[in-house]
């Protein structure tokens, strides 16, 4: 009976880890897509309305929820206080959903944001968008393959543990 209970718990844990893995991949995708959305809004704000960064940021924060929105809020808070340093920017975008490489991309973009004239700012924005597009494509592929595989794998491993222990 005890064996059966332990194997049940282990099966549950294994399946849970599988689903958590899928959730991670989904959240990573959402984080990067939200960043892409922010870049679009930023481009419009800069090109058409000539809005300042805090205004654009607040508009974006009001439009949704998620890990990226929280990070942007932290970033806009420090922008409103003054000129953010690289370290401050890094702290804002220290999300668990993104890779080290993504963090470098975010740090480089946000620590330089608003420090250039119009033309340079737009070309940097476009460059980041292009880089981000590739990252999103890869993240979506990972989500479809590895992300979808993880819950199944978790369940299979869990059942296997149950069989072995039984």
């Amino acid at each position: 009976m005890l064996k059966f209970a332990i194997s049940g718990v282990l099966c549950f844990i294994s399946a849970y880890l599988g689903f958590a893995g899928k959730k991670y991949f989904n959240k990573r995708c959402k984080y990067l897509k939200d960043f892409s959305e922010f870049l679009s809004l930023l481009r419009d704000g800069i090109s058409f309305a000539n809005d300042k960064l805090p205004q654009i940021g607040r508009k974006f924060i009001a439009s949704g929820k998620g890990a990226f929105y929280t990070d942007i809020e932290d970033y806009i808070n420090i922008v409103e206080k003054g000129n953010p340093t690289e370290e401050q920017v890094m702290k804002c975008f220290d999300s668990k959903y993104i890779s080290k490489q993504d963090k470098v991309l975010l740090k480089e973009f946000f620590s330089q944001l608003g420090k250039f004239d119009y033309d340079t700012q737009i070309s940097r924005l476009d460059m980041t968008s292009a880089q981000l597009k590739k990252t999103i494509e890869k993240a979506e592929k990972d989500c479809r393959t590895t992300g979808n595989l993880m819950p199944k794998l978790g369940l299979v491993i869990g059942i296997a543990i149950m069989i072995i222990l039984a």
């Binding site: 800069i46 300042k52 960064l53 922008v79 003054g82 700012q121």
Partner: protein, 276 residues
């Protein structure tokens, strides 16, 4: 710690009028117009970047047109003059890069106790204020705007750079009186004709007349019956009289106020005798 923390420690902000930042050079500041130097405070590129970041709310791109003009305006009408390397695009100056100097000018409302100015305001007519840069033309203009407004003249202030009124998010940070209307951030040439028709001012106040087009606009306003009070960079009236462009103003302006030292109003000249 920023250079401004150090400055806060040393300087009396009630009398601070100017701060000058030049890369690799010590910080200079002016208290009531007199320059002082802080030898220990050598300005770095990072200091300029920080200052510009704060001044532009980390949105330098939004100030592109202003950069091309060589200045940006910060909260409270603080004007920051900028020098750097010009970027030419389609044959025109597009913006500045590699910025090397900033000149931060802090506007203040000062009630001027001067009998000549009080008499001028009492029998107000078109007035031209002349002096070298930094002697207090804008301060005197601000005082005259408030005094005329207090006498219930409808004063229209054409404040292209926002330094006369110190407008921050639509709120005037400097009190220019209850009968004052302020146009901020609009090129003055555009404002003259449109605002004279729409706002029906008794007096137009404008800082730093520059160029033939503006002179034509001012003369047109005077022809329409609107009084003008304006400032002009020049160290003496004789030089204005010799200038083919600016001497045209003297035919329609009645008073010339000459400032010969920082805040030192030399004389108020009534030109009516000479140019009637």
């Amino acid at each position: 710690m920023t250079i401004f923390n150090e400055l806060y420690r040393i300087v009396d902000f009630n009398v601070l009028t100017e701060v000058r930042l030049r890369v690799d050079k010590p910080l200079y500041y002016a208290e009531a117009g007199k320059y002082k130097k802080i030898n220990d405070l050598i300005i770095s590129n990072d200091d300029l970047t920080y200052t510009l970041g704060v001044a532009t709310k980390t949105s330098l791109y939004a100030y592109n047109d202003y950069l091309a003009e060589g200045y940006i305006t910060y909260d409270g009408g603080i004007r920051i003059g900028i020098t750097g390397e010009g970027v030419i695009k389609n044959g025109q100056l597009s913006t500045l890069k590699n910025i090397t100097s900033l000149c931060i000018r802090i506007p203040r409302y000062v009630a001027i106790r001067n009998e000549k100015i009080d008499k001028l305001i009492a029998k107000f007519d078109n007035t031209l204020i002349i002096s070298k840069p930094g002697y207090g033309k804008t301060t005197l203009l601000r005082y005259m705007i408030k005094s005329l407004s207090d006498r219930e003249y409808n004063v229209l202030v054409l404040d292209e750079r926002g330094e006369l009124s110190g407008v921050v998010d639509g709120q005037l940070s400097i009190d220019l009186g209850a009968c004052t209307d302020v146009v901020v951030g609009v090129p003055k040439i555009k404002s003259y004709s449109s605002q004279v028709r729409s706002m029906r001012p008794d007096v137009i106040a404008t800082d730093e007349i520059f160029g033939e087009k503006e002179i034509d606009c001012i003369l047109d306003c005077i022809r329409c019956g609107v009084k003008v009070v304006a400032t002009l960079h020049s160290d003496e009236l004789a030089k204005v009289e010799k200038s083919p462009s600016y001497s045209r103003l003297l035919k329609d302006f009645r008073y010339v106020v000459s400032i010969i030292g920082i805040g030192n109003i030399d004389k108020v000249i009534d030109l009516r005798g000479n140019y009637a």
